[in-house]
């Protein structure tokens, strides 16, 4: 268990910058998700923390002490790779005990910890199997046990759920969360799946192109995204974006002018989430383009004077049919306004004058 700090840490490979100078602090026992698309630098950050990569600049600190010079083998970090990286020529038992081989523990100590780790992930019956005789979920649990048996300071998970099928994913989500709560180990999860990040982590670090876009809880990233990228990355179906101009206190797009509460000037982008669009009442008229039933909710694709909007209706009743003309509205508090060039969120809301 340790408090982890990254102080202006960067990583470059020759000309290519994998990670821009980044600063980040993770509290003891926290579960943090690093979220972002491929190539955003999240795996690089993970491997820098593990000690496999050495930072090009900056300092990494565990509990306040700089660990740049400390080798990977001495950092006591547990890591579960996306491919699980089990040793193919060793049984499950030997795989899990491998970290203890270099630690001079007595035989009883090893057996005790093996039993604990196996019980933690519920693989007691699989100890004599070889990795190629295990299913994906079982392999992952073995990898978890191997990472946890050394009581690590830090647990790193690289896209742990991406190789699992949907039902197993759900089960392992709560499983990993339960493990983290029970052991209290500081955990960093790297993923491109926002559902994984929002459901499992205490805080989310959203990254793009080697740079941190925003750090916050799931609620903060959802409701108060710092940039256009964060707003579009979080939330499925993705947020509706309408380009326009803000001048004289109004948002103007395609002949429509809506009053703006707050500071906004120049080219802007209005964001409204599909779940924030109220169907059936409001000042905006729209034609229903597509109706997509999704079981517990329905997604509508609507043609409006402001462009194509998506809206979600909870429940399975499907009030509107294709081709229908309906009214739309949204609350000012559900709107987000972004500067078009800097893509930062502006402290302003757009009202529908009703």
């Amino acid at each position: 268990m340790a408090r982890i700090e990254l102080d202006r840490v960067s990583k470059r490979w020759g000309e290519v910058v994998a990670l821009e100078p980044t600063s980040l602090a993770i509290e003891n026992g926290e579960f943090v998700a690093v979220l972002g698309p491929s190539g955003c630098g999240k795996t690089t950050t993970l491997l820098l923390l593990a000690g496999i990569y050495h930072p090009s600049s900056g300092e990494i600190r565990f509990d306040g002490a700089p660990v740049n010079e400390v080798e990977a083998k001495d950092r006591n970090v547990g890591i579960v790779f996306q491919s699980y990286a089990l040793y193919p020529h060793m049984t499950v038992r030997q795989n899990i005990l491998f970290p203890l081989r270099f630690r001079h523990a007595s035989a009883q100590e090893k057996d005790r910890r093996l039993a604990e780790a196996a019980a933690l992930v519920q693989i007691e019956s699989l100890l004599e199997r070889l990795p190629n005789q295990l299913s994906g979920g079982q392999q992952q649990r073995v990898a978890l046990a191997r990472a946890l048996i050394k009581a690590p300071q830090l647990l790193l998970l690289d896209e742990p759920l991406s190789n699992l099928d949907a039902s197993l994913r759900l089960a392992m989500r709560s499983e990993i969360r339960r493990l983290q709560r029970r052991t209290g180990v500081t955990t960093i999860l790297v993923t491109h799946d926002q559902i994984e990040a929002t459901t499992m982590a205490d805080r989310i670090v959203c990254m793009r192109h080697g740079r941190i876009e925003q750090i916050g809880t799931a609620d903060e990233l959802y409701g108060r995204p710092a940039s256009l990228f964060v707003a579009s990355f979080i939330g499925a179906p993705p947020i509706n974006l309408i380009a326009g101009r803000a001048e004289d206190g109004a948002f103007k797009a395609d002949g429509i002018a809506l009053p703006v509460d707050g500071e906004a000037r120049g080219d802007v982008i209005l964001g409204v989430r599909p779940e924030g669009v109220s169907l059936g009442q409001g000042p905006l008229s729209a034609v229903v383009g597509e109706v997509e039933p999704m079981g517990r909710e329905t997604l509508y694709v609507l043609e409006t004077p402001l462009g194509t909007l998506r809206a979600l209706e909870a429940g399975a009743q499907r009030s509107f049919g294709q081709g229908e003309r309906i009214q739309l509205g949204f609350a000012a508090s559900d709107t987000l306004l972004f500067d078009a060039s800097s893509e930062r969120r502006l402290p302003a809301r757009v009202r529908l004058a009703s």
């Binding site: 491997l47 000690g51 496999i52 990977a72 083998k73 699980y84 040793y87 193919p88 990795p131 392999q139």
Partner: protein, 357 residues
Amino acid sequence: MSTAALPLADAPVDWHALAAQARFRRRLSTGLLYGAMALGALPVLVPYLWLVTVAFSGRTGATTFVLWRTLAVALPALVLASIVGLVIDDARRRRRGFLLIAAVTALILAFVAGPHLHLHNWRFLWNPDVADAMLGASGVGGKFPSVWTAFVNSLVLAGTQMALVVAVATLAGYYISRFAFSGRAVFLQGLLVLHAFPAMTLIIPIFLMMYWIGLQDTIAGVILVIAALELPFAIFVMKGFFDAVPWDIEMSAMTDGASRRQAFFHVVLPQVKVGMLAIAIFAFIRGWEEYVFVRTLLIAQENWTMSLYLFWTITDVMGVDYALVSAVGVFYVLPSVILYLLTQRYLTQMTFGGIKG
């Protein structure tokens, strides 16, 4: 709407005739295929048969009548066996057929060839004075070393060279596979060129170099030369095997507390065991059958290897004792054959597990 009448077969289909046709065609094609392959295999196998039969039955000179009699019995037996194999479909009856043919053939061979077999050609195993028994003084000045000296020398040569090649190629292959260093691409291209290079052209320079270094006429000198010539191919093979080992498990081992070296030995090396075995066997066989460099660099009788021993058995002023030569030949080939038989199971086993995707 008019319906066009499809011409349907009214007559009942004769399934038996169809099956018989298919059976005949299958037997014909299989027979022709195996016949062609057998014909192609004959020029390869008959020389070995020659070697073995003459080794056990020849008197000085090439008395080969035992060979022809053996062939006269074996070939019809083979033809009969293939007919049995084609015609009888039931596996158990087929096996019984084969066993019957094999037993009868063995019996006939015992009568035909048995009385002519003897071990006189194998006297070199216990009597080193082979030269005296030959038709005339050979070029060695009359005295031969014991074949066991040559055997041990060959073993030492092949074995040491194998160990050297495996050790160097494994480490080099790992480094080339895992690390980026300036000149890596050039090095790999150079390896290919070296492998394709005809080593014969280097005989004279190597002879001179060995003389200057002082390693001429020593087994150690030959070991170094042959190992060096075997290395490019071995490094290439090992690099390929290391490329196939995912980087993940090394990283995993390193975070599990292993140093780079420990990760290499405990985790990476077991994955390339098959590759190591393959190059070990190739290196051993190469060392065992090496002739050119051994002939060039070794002179003294104590340093002879099996290939030199065989050479001097052949080189005779007054005519060659082919029976003796074939016996020595069989003795020479035996270890290679045994090695192949023992290790071919391991060479064909490859397992990759524990890494998803």
